[in-house]
Each structure stands twice: as C-alpha cells, then as structure tokens.
Symmetry: C2
Subunit: 445 residues, 2 copies
Amino acid sequence: MEILNIKKMPPSRILLLFFLVAIFIGSFLLMLPGATTAGNEISYLTSLFTITSAIAVTGLTVVDVSKVFTPMGKSIILIFIQLGGLGIMSFSSLVFLLIGKRITYHERKILKEDLNAESTGEVTDLIKRIIMMVFTIEFIGAIFLTLGFLRRMPLKRAVIYGVFHSVSAFCNAGFSLFSDSLEGYSQNVIINMSVAFLIILGGIGFAVINSSIMYITTSKKRFNLTSKMALFISIILTLVGMGLFLLLEYRNPKTIGEMNLFYKIIASFFQSVTTRTAGFNSVPMGDLTPGTIFLFCILMFIGASPGSTGGGIKTTTFGVIAFYVVGIVRGREDIEVSNRRLSWEILNRALAILVISVAYVSTIILLMLVFDDLGFAETIFEVVSAFGTVGLSMGVTPEMNQFSKVLITITMLIGRLGPLTFALALGEQKQRHARRYPKENILIG
Amino acid sequence: MEILNIKKMPPSRILLLFFLVAIFIGSFLLMLPGATTAGNEISYLTSLFTITSAIAVTGLTVVDVSKVFTPMGKSIILIFIQLGGLGIMSFSSLVFLLIGKRITYHERKILKEDLNAESTGEVTDLIKRIIMMVFTIEFIGAIFLTLGFLRRMPLKRAVIYGVFHSVSAFCNAGFSLFSDSLEGYSQNVIINMSVAFLIILGGIGFAVINSSIMYITTSKKRFNLTSKMALFISIILTLVGMGLFLLLEYRNPKTIGEMNLFYKIIASFFQSVTTRTAGFNSVPMGDLTPGTIFLFCILMFIGASPGSTGGGIKTTTFGVIAFYVVGIVRGREDIEVSNRRLSWEILNRALAILVISVAYVSTIILLMLVFDDLGFAETIFEVVSAFGTVGLSMGVTPEMNQFSKVLITITMLIGRLGPLTFALALGEQKQRHARRYPKENILIG
Ligand SMILES: [K+]
Ligand SMILES: [K+]
C-alpha cells in the first residue's frame, strides 16, 4: 500500500486526502434524518455537493439551504465552512496542540504549506495567532451583524444569523440563511459594510494582517513583498471592479438602476468586494449586463490573496504576471516590484498556475457545454465561480444534470486545493532524467 | 524625426509601418468610384475595415463583398489578400529582387523575422522558393476549383471564382465571392477538399512544406523540431476539432443534422480545418450549439503554424506550453519533445505570447461588451476571430457600432502582427538596469 503510506506521501497528496476524508464524513452527516426538514430529503449527490461547497468555502448550492436544512443541518454546514476557512491543516494542528503532542518536522512541513508561512519555526506560533485572530474578528463581526439584523428580527434569531453570516463572510464561504443571499439588504449600510470588511479581512491573507499588526504594535515597520503585492492588487481590483460595475449597471433597473447614487456606490463596492471570492450577492446575478458577467468572470478567476480563506489563482500570482508584462513593454530584463526583483522561478510558477488553471477551466466548460444544456454565459460563469470558490451563479446551479453536478463538485475541490498544490508540485517533485536529451530550438509565435 | 529613422528602427516597428502604409493606400483605393457598385457607396470606416481585413487575411466584413464591390474592387481586395498572405516583407523582397538591388543585411534581417527563416544566409533563396511555391500551389488549386465551379457556372466565371477562392484559401483569408461563404457547397466534395487542402498547405507554414520537399527530393531525411511540432499539433487539433464538431452538431438540423454520414464527416473535416484560421464556413455559424462556439473560440485562438499565412498564437506556441504542462504532471525537469529538450527561454516566450494575447483579447471583449450591444457569445466569438485573423462570425459584424468597428480593425492588425512581434520584442529589446534591485521572494498560488 505504497500510496497510503503517509510518511512517504508528498504533502500535496496528504492535503487532498484530508479534504476527501472530511468531505466523506460530512456528506454522511448531512444525510442524517435530523439534518433536513420534513419533505425535503436530499439525494447523496446533493449532500456531497453541499458539503464540498461548504468545506471548499464556495457557496454554490443545488437546494435552498435556508429551507431544506434544519438548525442541525445548518450547524453542520457552518462547522465545515469554519473547517475549510481555517484550513484543515491549521485545524488539525490545533488538535495536535490541544492533545499536547509536539508537532513533528513532517507535520509542520505540511502546515507550512497550507498556511504559506515563510519559515518552519514560526508555524506553531502562527497557528495560535491565526486561531486567535479568526475568532476575534468573527466575534466582532457577529456583534455588528446582529445589530444590523435586529431591525427586522427578534434577538435570538438575530444572534444566530449574525454568527452564521459572520463566519460565512470571514471564511469567504458565501453561504447565506436567506434564499436570495443578501439581496434583501442591498440598502442596509451596516450589514453591507460589516460583511464587506469581514470578506476583505478574510480574503487579504494572514500574512498581511500579521504584517499590519506588527506594523502597528512593534517597531518592525516593514511590509514584506507578498503583503505589499497582495494589498496593492487587492485595492486596484476592488476599485476597478467597483468603477466598472457602477458604469455597467448604472441604468439597469433590475440591479442598481433605481437606487439613488449613495446606494448605487455602496452596492457597487459590496459587489466588487464579494465577487472576487466571497460569493454573496446583493443584486440578482441573472439580470446583470453581459459586460458585468465578463468582468465578474475575470475577477472570480483572479480571486483573493494567498494564505487567506479565498480562492482563485490569487492576487499575487496575477500581480507577478502583470508586473512581468509591464516589464516586457518597458523593455526591462528583471521583473521589478517596489525596488525589488523577482526570480524567474517565481514567474514560472505563476505562469504555470495560470496556464494550468486556464486549461482546466476551459476543459470543464467545454464538457458541460457538450453534455448539459445551461447556456453559454451561464456555464462559463458557473465553472469559473466554482473554480474560484466564489459561489455566485446566474441561477442554473439547481438545474444542472448529474454529470454537471459531479464536475462542479470536483471543480470546487480542485479550486480549493488547486493552484497551491500545483505550485508545490512544481517546487518539489522535479526529477532529472538519467540522460538529458540534446537541446533543439523551435520557432513560436 | 527620430521615430521615422528607418535604419535605427526596431524591425517590429518597420513591419508595423509597412502594414499601416499599405492599409492607408488600400483604404483609398477601395474608395475609388469604380470600386463599388451603383448605390453601394461605402464609408471610409467600411473601406478601412475591409482593406485591413484583406491584408491581415482575416475575412471579417461589414458589407457583402460579393454585392457591394465591382470586379475592380474585388481585384483590389484580392491583391491585398495576396500581399498580406505572402507577407509584406517577402513581397517587398520580390520588388528588391526584380529591380536587381542586392538585399542589404538590414533588409534581410527584417525579412528573416517575417518569414521565421532560421539563418540570414538562406533568406534570398527562401524568398524565391516561397514565391515559386505559392504561385504553383495557387495555380493547381485554381484548376481544381474551376472544375468544381464549372458545374454551376459558365467557364469564364468559373475561372475567376477559381482563382479568387484559390488565393483566398491558400492565404487563409476567408474572403468569398458568395454572400453565404461556401454554405452552398457544403455537399460538393471537390470544392470542399480543394479548399481544405489549400488551407492546410497555407496554414502549415513554409518550413514544413520546405522540409517535406527536401525529404522527398534530397537525401536530407530529417524534419526539424519546428516542423515536427507544427505537424503533430496541427493533426491533433484537426482530428479533435473534427470529432467534437461531429459529436456536437450530429443532431443539429440547422447545421449538419440532416446530412447523411458521409457528408457529415466531410463537413466536420472542412469546418475543423477552416476554423483554426481560414474562416470559410460551409454551415451557418449563428446556429451552432454553445459547445461548438466555445470549441471554435479555442481553435481560433490557437490558430495556424509559424511562417504560414495563418494567425492565432500558433500551433508551436501551444505545443511548447502543452508539452511543458505534461512535463509538470510527469514530474520532469526538462521540457522534452521527440527526444529533444527545449530551452526555458523558448518556454518563457511562449508563455509571454499566451499571457499577452489572453490579456489583450479579454480587454477588447470587455470594452465591446461595455460600449456595444452584440451579446455575450457573439462578442467573444467576434473578437477571438479577429485576433486569430480567422474571419468567422456569428453574424454580428455588420451590426457593430463605430467604436466596435474601430476596435475590431485594430485587433485584426494586432492579430496579424501580434504574437510574432511580441516574440521578437522579447528576444531583442531587453535592457538591463544600470543598478539591479535586490531579490525578494513572493508567495503565489
Ligand atoms: K465563496
Ligand atoms: K482568415
């Protein structure tokens, strides 16, 4: 059983195995009689789809979560969201810490890769800090959201809704207890802003939050390059997304056309933030203009920052490639960012992530277009949303046939593991041929 | 006038300048009173669009070429197709040869880049061989096509149609003298096969044809790596495209659904060959299934082989990246193709071409979706078709607003110059900073 020998496994395979085990357990938990409401029994495929969506913090659903699941079912989903959001690795390290077992070098190596920490020594410390940070932020978020919900519901319900949406937002999961996501709250400033800030904090990555805290509390006044790049690209993408959304939907009566300018701007900001990976929506997706659909596909594909709860190819991957292209145009030999130069190895990994992601997404889109009948734009949107673990949909998720549901389930999982795992595979598994072949040139372009 | 000093210009800029001058002259020629039929006067933008489409061998048209232009107008278009197909550089070298002027090293360098010849010494010889080859193939093609057309029209007209379609097919231009391209001949085997073989010969690249002739006529029994890769990828793409088209459209009554199996296969073969860059169609594009639309976008984007009359990012660029990805999956350190390894520099150029092309195409699609109203799939299809100099359209070309027409005109030109020019720029213009910045790592994926 060579392939089941954990000690010898490449970390990327261990990560995959943990996800598979968690999905397997979760899919049966969600099938328990007490998890669904009367008359709403679900098929195993639906359960599998829902729990994968939860642990991959995607948020796509084939059934209406608010109606189909009991409080118990919703709690299971919430737990798996939290599990996925924290990263199974950091969660399992918590278990290790709790039972007092020292983390071995091998375990630490796995953790390190899930969290993108820079040196092995910091891992234990980092995990503690992450757990603290996550619960602190989610707690504060829950208070604000509870206050927001109190206007329309009694205290107990407002607290439950506050906690659920705080965790779901910070983990960039996009699950909501409302059938229409947050469309009913598109003009509620406190809900919009709380959710947006939870998403931003969850999606910016622990490295940036950590650097920020260090910046404020200690004398270490230097952001590392990853943090700078993540912040820079996140801000640019948020502003560009917000501006284009406002422009494209300004006169669309089905989305923000009939709001006043203030709420138009709030809704545009909210939708720009949430589209990159969180997946809540305050305006209906099926009614967007074609330009917005295309814009959203690009934003969903890029996604959040590394070491965060979000998906996509990551802001830093996009940033490295963008700086490279700018460098080409300016005739530079090095890739220069903020008075530093990047190695070609980093560029090659970034390009490999991009190429493999594009190839994978294109293949799944083609398969779904061939074997299902959901429409051209709808299919592209759905697949990119699943791959970026975003969870937005033009409304076709429940209409998919079984083949498409299986493809989307796999895509959510690969989207969660994917680019990172590929990056690792690139960094680790290279093996030189015993005999190298002679070199030959080839004409391209 | 530093920027107009030809001797100091980078070759890529000279290439651009020649195209611009040719387009400028052609756009006025096409405005001459004798070029258009009575009552069908065209605007300058239409003239500019049409002549750019001709010289970039794209074939997109905002008016019905068969009805709007007189024999003189059609001749102008044909001449510009031939000019574009041969490459303005090889054409200008012909002029040099005819007037007995020796080609200077500087001129040869330009030619070399347009033709992708491997060493400067071969250029003069190569140009002669290209001209010979092109006219020989077009002559033979014209004979077959004339025979095909004779069944439905008198001799004189059949000859004119034969010559026009032979040149247009070999140059992968996609211009047709029929309003519905070759839809009326979807069940005519001789026309289909002649056009398909002209397209294949025109799109496989002179290097491959040259190697093949050497293989047959001399003792030099070795294909170089470029030829092998171009042939291998072309065959794979043709077969995959043919198979998927057959599968996707098998039951579509608006395309091949009502043909018998033999003609279904002929039409699938023809459409697979023509989609990668030629742009003729024997079935209506607007009626394709969404899966076929997506498949065609991928095929159009990849395009033909280098040193050919076709466009796209090129089969070899796609091939280098594909072999790289396969190598990653198999854990190899080198990129290995046919017992040879490729340099990382080649891979970087291929990836740069891909990334810049994707970024450019996405930007144009987004702009057209924002400022025009042609539909999601229609816009993506149109832009990819223009960039790949394919010329297929879902029927929206004449409905575009002025802004879109300008964007598509620019995109046809960039598509013709683009990947090649980028490849050159990458190889040539790199300049090292006086002071290199210190290196820093960044987390991606
Ligand atoms: K999500
Ligand atoms: K063409």
